[in-house]
């Protein structure tokens, strides 16, 4: 059993061990081991040349990582908090995402950008944002989110090995929760980088979610079970591209779907999921696809965040609405 944070740490360690070109870089990732200790001990074991404390400049982190990648390195960047990825937005969208296409495949940029995201830890402003949709709408990036130690470890290792740039979202409120991590990459529990995972089987409604909300949806499914409703829970894992086949197959079977994410619903990735399901499951849907998400307001102060974030009750409320449509 490892915590999510430990599992990621071990994933980074495995990357550094197996490929001398892997580097870890970011603000305070070295001596300190990162503000969440995810990179703890790595600089000590792999040296300050491979686990690099950078100047305080996010565009510089991603921009130099691109240069390193062109040189044959595989940098894994850490952005300290979700709300601080924006200074790097230009390097990510106009450079990193497009480099392969612009160069007609001649240049690859295997950069991983780790972003601790979403709320639930009572943090101050800019430390709780769920901004995955900015990146999923950017062609050329892969975007994934690890909800469990298993994915924290293996999804990260796959991201590091992948030749595409990957934005790797880590639900920070789950860093301390524990789970098993399989030993071998050949274990059937190790899914491909772009596959969704059905984490709970059910027949009445499909909950589609990722990141911090996977656990919330699982708890909702348990609660619903008690009331006689059988909910299926699908963790998207890969947010771009989306494993549409798995999603569609589930919803065609259940006929009802609720998408749950922490980001504001308006323009969020839930809209894409709902639109795709609306198109591909049109004749199977017994009710509209409902979305449960953050409200369309800036993330509120810590004392209000549990009103802002979807919780068990809001998920169940939506389940109720699709069941009684």
């Amino acid at each position: 059993m490892f915590t999510l944070s430990e599992a990621i740490n071990r994933g980074l360690r495995a990357g550094l061990e197996t490929d001398p070109k892997v580097m870890v870089m970011g603000e305070d990732v070295g001596r300190l081991g990162g503000v969440f200790r995810v990179t703890d001990g790595l600089q000590k074991d792999f040296g300050a040349d491979r686990v690099v404390d950078t100047p305080l400049a996010e565009a510089g982190i991603v921009g130099t990582a691109i240069g390193l990648a062109m040189r044959g390195y595989r940098p894994v960047c850490e952005i300290q908090f979700d709300g601080f990825v924006y200074p790097a937005f230009n390097q990510i969208t106009s450079q990193l995402a497009k480099l392969r296409a612009r160069s007609r495949g001649r240049v690859t940029a295997p950069v991983v950008i780790r972003v601790p995201f979403s709320g639930g830890i009572g943090a101050v402003e800019h430390h709780s944002e769920s901004n995955e949709a900015y990146f999923t709408h950017t062609a050329g990036l892969r975007v994934v989110s690890a909800a469990t130690p298993q994915d924290g470890h293996w999804l990260l290792r796959q991201a590091i090995a992948c030749d595409d740039p990957v934005i790797f979202f880590e639900p920070k409120c789950r860093y301390w929760s524990k789970g098993d991590v399989t030993e071998s990459p050949d274990d059937p529990l190790v899914l491909p980088l772009d596959a969704a995972r059905t984490v709970r089987r059910g027949d009445d409604v499909t909950l589609l979610t990722w990141g911090s909300m996977v656990e919330t949806c699982l708890r909702a499914a348990t609660a619903a079970q008690a009331e006689g409703h059988s909910l299926e829970v699908v963790d998207l894992r890969s947010l771009s591209p989306i494993d549409t086949d798995t999603l569609v197959a589930s919803v065609r079977r259940t006929g009802r779907a609720v998408v749950v994410h922490e980001a504001p619903t308006f323009g969020g990735l839930g809209g894409e999921v709902a639109a795709a399901l609306g198109e591909h499951c049109f004749t199977s849907l017994e009710a509209p696809v409902m979305r449960v998400g953050g409200f369309n307001v800036p993330y509120p102060a810590a004392h209000l965040e549990e009103h802002y974030r979807p919780d068990l009750d809001r998920v169940l409320d939506a389940v109720d609405r699709v069941l009684h449509y």
């Binding site: 404390d53 100047p55 305080l56 009572g122 943090a123 101050v124 409200f295 800036p298 004392h303 009103h307």
Partner: protein, 351 residues
């Protein structure tokens, strides 16, 4: 190498020279009082965090001279764009304890009305306030106002592109802005050697900013340097930059563990340079303050501490639906509907 401007030695000696003539007992007592109250406030907030009353606290301990010395050199009509550790400066502007703690207690994202204190709300996104300060200063200049703008930031923040855009912008537009950098030697765990390849003041001068480096633990030097810079900016000589060399005595925040990355010896060294001790030595040596002064100040500080505790505990979270307030000037149907649906939903639990 530029010389570091100092007036008051660590041992409390006041250096002779033209600038020393501006120093008198009254000024020193006032600055000392500000620093003592700021430190007590900071200590109290720290304890409140440890007691779970605040979610997070970023201590200003050790940086009182840099903040008090600089803000007291401004006029009340000058605007300030702070970072997030500028509590001593905020208190000097009259911001109330409750206003200053609200954000760290997590009941609000900010606590005070910037216009009332001419002190903008804290900016947590590093360096983002620097272009704001420049823009505000350009506006003040357009208005023909006899005002200047000062902005505080840490040495780490200077690596952000936006900081450098602001330096260049100010120099190009000759904006009446004073960049005040508190170089407290650390940006969380990152020391200055890993932050820049040349002293910051050298870079600032390179941008065309009129630059001074000052002992940031010497409140008198900071005060004189800031007055000098403010005077020049006001006279239309263009933007200025002050690098105050100081030290972050505490961890980065109450979540930080500084023992992971820095030595006790370094901390001990800087403790001997404490800005409060230093000024107290001067006050005592010159007889500029008597026991009565210190006793009275101690009582004031104790009263403040009590006020801080009370104010903090009284800070309650607003009702949840307030999160829909102030998103847009007019909410419009979409936001109004979302709010209404939320209120109805939340109300359903009350039945």
């Amino acid at each position: 190498m530029v010389e570091i401007f100092q007036l008051l030695g660590p041992d409390g000696d006041l250096r002779d020279g033209p600038s020393a003539s501006a120093i008198d007992a009254e000024l020193c007592r006032a600055l000392f009082r500000d620093m003592v109250l700021a430190r007590r406030f900071d200590d109290e907030a720290y304890y409140l965090q440890r007691q779970g009353e605040l979610g997070l606290w970023l201590q200003s301990r050790g940086q009182e001279a840099a903040q008090v010395g600089s803000i007291r050199a401004l006029r009340d009509t000058d605007w300030v764009f702070p970072s997030y550790r500028d509590h001593a400066a905020a208190l000097c502007r009259g911001i109330e304890p409750a206003e200053l703690l609200a954000q760290w207690r997590g009941v609000s994202q900010s606590g005070w009305d910037p216009a009332r204190y001419r002190f903008h709300i804290y900016t947590l996104v590093l360096a983002a306030q620097l272009p704001h300060a420049v823009g505000y200063a350009i506006g003040a200049q357009h208005d023909g106002a006899d005002e200047l703008v000062m902005t505080y930031f840490g040495e780490g923040s200077s690596s952000e592109g936006e900081a450098n855009e602001a330096f260049n912008w100010a120099a190009t537009m000759a904006a009446p802005v004073l960049f005040f950098c508190q170089n407290n030697q650390w940006a969380i765990s990152t020391p200055t050697q890993a932050q820049f390849g040349a002293p910051l003041h050298q870079r600032a001068a390179g941008f065309g900013l009129s630059t001074q480096v000052v002992d940031g633990n010497d409140v008198l030097a900071v005060h004189v340097a800031t007055s000098r810079a403010a005077e020049a900016v006001r006279c239309g000589e263009g933007p200025a930059f002050i690098e105050a060399l100081t030290y972050r005595i505490a961890g980065h925040s109450t979540s930080d563990d500084p023992t992971r990355y820095r030595s006790d010896a370094e901390l001990d060294h800087w403790q001997t340079l404490d800005p409060l001790d230093r000024l107290r030595r001067l006050l005592e040596a010159r007889g500029w303050a008597d026991d009565g002064f210190f006793t009275h100040l101690e009582a004031e500080a104790t009263a403040l501490a009590e006020r801080v505790r009370g104010a903090c505990r009284a800070l309650a979270a607003p009702e949840a639906a307030s999160m829909f307030d102030h998103v847009l000037a007019e909410p419009g149907p979409a936001l109004a509907a979302e709010r209404a649906a939320y209120v109805e939903y939340a109300g359903s639990f009350l039945d």
